[in-house]
Homo-oligomer: 396 residues x 2
């Protein structure tokens, strides 16, 4: 039971059964309050919880700034009306990229209060990234008049797998300088906030079912195609982390048994044939100069044949890997994100052909494949959603 509601792969507090129960009960109250203020007696009726339990949880939530209460008269009797604080509870979302840092401030109900991105040097160490995050967060809070005590917590996204057992960045990260770093502990100390850490693809998935257009979807996969390829899974409505917190490593699906050596140590992984790095390497050779992901998008829109062919081959390989995924876990929606999202149908087309070619027919027919509309904001927004999820606010 706690496992299904635990929102973060690697938060340091281990929820015992008592706190898991309180968390579950708090979530039920919040779900009721999302449709408007209610008295404690009404909350008790709607949830089946005793009035003493409701009153206890309301006190705790009030202390945390999540709700405020107001004495009212209901059916001629004195009662306490409870309402969610949309301004009082702010979540911080941080996206640590290879060359950028993005911070958003979000309020309850999924409203962005502030958002800013700064550039970081390629190959920067984790400590530099964290120092920049502390500085940017302080600036945003100050500029927008948000008090620190209103901040519920911070979510942080990393372009790499997080080992849930140790709270460290695991081998295989796109940020090799961060591998082995105690990201969770270090960030909690620097920000002086409860911190939840997750990888970029998981946060992309979470942002699609919270901020994005797929909020009713309970089984969704977010596929990020960038210099690495990774997937985030929403399973039964919640992010899914597997046994040790490492899931969605579709970038390391074997495509060519004797293909190129991958950074993971295996051969012929999907990343070696379909990442933006591979595409840029192939196209850069013939162009005679170094290219950027946005060049792929621009040249494809200009109908450059080599670019279109490289996209087609990459898309088919991605589709093949997705076909196997769809056969295994049957997601309702697969959302493709990352720097190539601007390609739209030019990339989705070959992915769809590959998917249909390799999936069991009924699975291929029933899986919706679409491009993310959240762009480069997906990870930071997902990081903020992770905080609300942990606070028990799972719907916007």
């Amino acid at each position: 039971m706690p496992a299904t509601t635990r929102p973060a792969a690697s938060h340091s507090k281990n929820p015992g059964s008592q706190s898991a129960l309180r968390h579950l009960n708090q979530q039920r109250l919040i779900e009721c309050l999302l449709s408007g203020p209610a008295t404690q007696a009404e909350l008790s009726r709607q949830t089946g919880l005793s009035t003493a339990t409701v009153s206890n949880i309301v006190k705790i939530m009030q202390g945390a700034g999540l709700v405020s209460t107001e004495p009212v008269t209901s059916s001629g009797r004195r009662a306490l009306s409870v309402r969610l604080n949309s301004q009082g509870a702010v979540a911080v979302g941080i996206d640590f990229g290879r060359r950028h840092l993005r911070v958003v401030l979000a309020s309850l109900g999924y409203q962005v209060i502030a958002e800013e991105t700064v550039t970081l040097p390629l190959g920067h160490h984790a400590e530099e990234g964290i120092a920049a995050a502390v500085e940017l967060l302080d600036k945003l809070l100050r500029q927008n008049g948000v008090e620190r005590r209103a901040v519920v917590g911070a979510g942080a996204g990393i372009a790499g797998p997080i080992d849930r057992r140790s709270g460290t960045v695991a081998q295989g990260a796109i940020l090799p300088e961060w591998v082995g770093f105690q990201i969770l502990e270090r960030l909690e100390r620097a920000l002086e906030l409860p911190v939840y850490v997750d990888n970029d693809a998981n946060l992309g998935a979470l942002s699609e079912v919270t901020w994005g257009p797929h909020s009713g979807v309970s089984d969704l996969m977010f596929l990020k195609i960038g210099s690495g390829i990774g997937a985030g899974l929403i399973v039964n409505g919640a992010p899914y982390y597997g046994a040790v917190g490492i899931t969605g490593e579709i970038g390391h699906a074997t495509i060519h048994e004797y293909g190129a050596i991958c950074r993971c140590g295996n051969r012929g992984c999907l990343e070696t044939v379909a990442s933006t790095s591979t595409m840029l390497e192939l196209l850069g050779k013939s162009a005679g100069r170094s290219l950027e992901p946005q060049d792929i998008v621009r040249n494809a829109l200009a109908k450059d044949p080599a670019t279109l062919r490289v996209i087609d081959d990459a898309g088919l390989a991605v589709g093949r890997a997705l076909g196997n995924v769809a056969n295994l876990i049957g997601p309702e929606v697969i959302v493709v994100g990352g720097p190539l999202a601007g390609l739209g149908e030019t990339l989705l087309g070959p992915i769809r052909r590959g998917l249909v070619r390799h999936a069991v027919p009924v699975v291929g027919e029933t899986t919706t494949l679409t491009m993310s509309s959240l762009g480069a904001r997906a990870e930071a927004l997902g990081a903020a959603a992770l905080v609300f999820q942990h606070a028990g606010i799972s719907s916007g």
Copy 2:
């Protein structure tokens, strides 16, 4: 929330939020009662539910024969003690195979009351299978003095995918005569019981975490290698069905892009290289006679080189597909079942090599691979467990 506790892919009743809430609350009461009888006041304290809610649910459970109550004195006051009926609630588990039918009667706490298997002709129609099930169930109930009103429901396993939207057996079933058959509706009418239907691999997975040695495991995959290859998934402690109820179709992972045509319509699927049918076809040619799965086990134990080679090749291919699976969903345990389970390490060895070769290193290292100890009983026991799951009794 309801999605995570929904036990059956294809039960006809659609749980609304009220019944889902009652089901959730009932499950919490049952979890408390599994450690022994308790008064209604104690149940209220332990769950945070109001005494009115507890009293209501206890009445409903009493009506269903799940619990019995007894007036007691607690701290000098009159109270009602509630206890789970281990004898009063019986689940039926039915396993429909290609050539057999197995029925088990199980009581609460996962005790087998009776169990029997009968042979059915190869290629029999679904109606024959159902008629045989009705007859065998009546006989077992009569012989063991179990009253019909004590039966909570029946679970049924089919060697093929179930389309959750329609409650029918989907294309790709090992029982081609059953495809398109309204299994759920027809079985409910014939047995006059609430029925829950699932495919054999899902039930194998469920039996491993209920009857089997992996009851503490929340993320498990059960891989059945037979004339077809399919997997059942336990995700966050519950069977996982994806968007349309078709998951675990690892038998159709592409191994050879231009390999043999598979019964699913694709090419080079895992089944075309590693199913028992393929192994038997390869070995039968050189043996000059038709072989059975038990011949593979016997000849392998006798160290027949061709048999060992065929097992090795099949195992490596299975391991490759499992590597991709483990990368994606990171199960804690993968259990291998089916008619070759008797091969033990002879089959597990190459599967493990393939898994480690194709998984991201940390995933390969942390995934436990083991042989099922439940043998041919896995599906029928899992079918009985499905009934208890639906009744809200998820732990044994």
